[in-house]
């Protein structure tokens, strides 16, 4: 005899597993700090690559003025300004990464907590049936 209540519960859990449950499990394999710092490390790499790409395009676009600036102004000052711009860019990007992945981690944990609660309910339903 099929227990309809239990099928409802199992279906709800199967839907969650199908739509994002696996991704949540992968997130849950990390501690919060590890997960966010690994994402911030990835962001550091992508932000640095993007900044270099932007610098390359800007250098190519305004090559003459860039050369003039290198010869006429203090090279240390130019490097300092570029470095400052990079730091600001990186800080903004890392902040966005931190906020986004903190949010994702927290919500993945909440969804998983609900999933495990349903798992316990399901297990209890099976136990009750066995006892009868």
């Amino acid at each position: 005899m099929i227990n309809e209540q239990r099928v409802r519960l199992m279906h709800k859990m199967a839907v969650y597993e199908k739509n994002g449950g696996d991704a949540d499990e992968r997130i849950n394999a990390y501690f919060r700090g590890d997960y966010i710092s690994s994402q911030m490390l990835r962001s550091f790499i992508t932000a640095t690559a993007a900044f270099l790409l932007l610098g390359l395009i800007f250098g190519f676009y305004d090559f003459e003025n860039l050369m003039l600036a290198v010869y006429n102004t203090n090279l240390t000052s130019l490097i300092f300004r570029v470095g400052l711009a990079y730091l600001f860019f990186l800080a903004a990007y890392e902040l966005a990464t931190y906020l986004i992945y903190s949010y994702r981690y927290q919500h993945a944990r909440e969804r998983l907590a609900q999933y495990y609660l349903e798992l316990r309910r399901l297990s209890a339903a099976y136990r009750r049936e066995e006892e009868l």
């Binding site: 099928v7 199992m10 279906h11 839907v15 990835r42 992508t46 932000a47 790409l53």
Partner: protein, 353 residues
């Protein structure tokens, strides 16, 4: 209003029944429209403009998820640009790479908006994209809309200046053409105005839609449309862009109408979630298809038999519904019940598939 709700229920029911066919067909048509749009604008590579390649790429749209399809369409754009000029392809590649590094690295879930943009652009209703993004997704759809606007502006700029870009004369060396292309992005005031408009619209629409006030979805659409119109008109006055006010006005009105229709279907109703799941326990394999219940109850029809019969006017109760999870499960057997044997009956919201 009641008849509108009835029509909505009928459409949702039809979609739920044919979802397995409707979804791939819609995705195919969306990618097909995007390919036709790209070919009409920058169809420089003959290999990609034929009917067969267009069909193959469109069929890929059925199999590949939206994120992957965006990458494929990006590659199609680059191949077309490369056929025109190396510089156009190089600037396009850098643009796409920057977008990939800075935005797609966060794996956004609203890539479908990027695929929708060309279709909407073809129909002159590109203004609907940030509104739909704000209604159905997160505030990050502002960035997705911005990416769509930047890509579209670049494609249009190349299409409008193909002679200058493809020119290989002595006075136009490679560096000049690079500068011309980058200026086409940086000095494009029309793009700037559209960027501000879509970002503001998506964020405002999302913020208002989340408010706990009555009709928040409809207020969000109205505010989003008005803000978009004001920003575009103000931008046109300040920067003297070439945006035609008439088509823009009509486009925003049509976009608002489409957004209202979307809200009418999407508000409070997860109609597309016909879930098919398979699982097992020690005793059974379960193949479950769960169809969300309809939120609107169709009006009861009572057939009254006017006669001297003693049984006239007898009613039969509606079947009870277990609504713990607002879903109906089927277990491989059809539990359809026939209520037609009685003269007088009520038709409730029950539907079986």
């Amino acid at each position: 209003m009641t008849s509108l709700l009835e029509i909505r229920e009928k459409i949702i029911e039809l979609y739920s029944q044919h979802e397995m066919v409707a979804k791939p067909v819609l995705r195919f048509l969306m990618v097909l429209a995007a390919m036709l749009y790209l070919n009409s604008k920058i169809g420089y590579e003959d290999v990609l403009t034929g009917a067969l390649p267009v069909l193959i790429v469109s069929l890929l749209g059925v199999l590949v998820p939206p994120g992957g399809m965006v990458v494929i369409l990006g590659a199609v754009i680059l191949v077309h640009l490369y056929s025109l000029s190396l510089e156009a392809a190089a600037v396009g590649a850098v643009l796409f790479l920057l977008m990939f590094l800075l935005y797609f690295r966060f794996s956004p879930k609203d890539c479908i908006l990027l695929l929708l943009y060309p279709v909407c652009r073809m129909c002159g209703i590109a203004y609907v994209v940030p509104i739909i993004g704000g209604l159905l997704f997160t505030p990050f759809s502002a960035l997705t809309s911005a990416v769509a606007v930047i890509t579209d502006s670049y494609v249009n700029f190349v299409a409008d200046n193909e002679t200058a870009i493809s020119s290989t004369s002595e006075d136009q060396d490679m560096l000049t053409r690079f500068r011309f292309l980058i200026d086409g992005i940086l000095q494009n005031k029309e793009m700037l105005v559209l960027l501000i408009a879509v970002v503001l619209t998506a964020v405002l629409t999302y913020a208002i839609r989340r408010l706990s006030v009555q009709y928040s979805w409809y207020i969000a659409i109205s505010v989003g449309s008005v803000v978009q119109m004001i920003v575009v008109m103000a931008g046109d006055m300040i920067y003297s862009t070439n945006i035609s006010i008439g088509p823009m006005f009509l486009g925003i009105i049509a976009s608002a109408f489409i957004a209202f229709v979307t809200a009418f279907f999407a508000f409070n109703l997860d109609y597309s979630r016909v879930e098919n799941t398979q699982f097992q326990d020690d005793d059974y394999y379960y193949y479950v298809k769960a169809v969300p219940k309809m939120s609107f109850t169709q009006p009861s029809r009572t057939v009254k038999q006017i006669s001297l019969s003693r049984h006239a006017g007898r009613h039969r109760d509606e079947p009870e519904e277990g609504d713990e999870e607002n879903t109906r499960e089927e277990y491989g057997t059809d539990s359809r019940e026939d209520y037609s044997s009685t003269d007088t009956r009520e038709e409730g919201p029950e539907r079986y598939y």
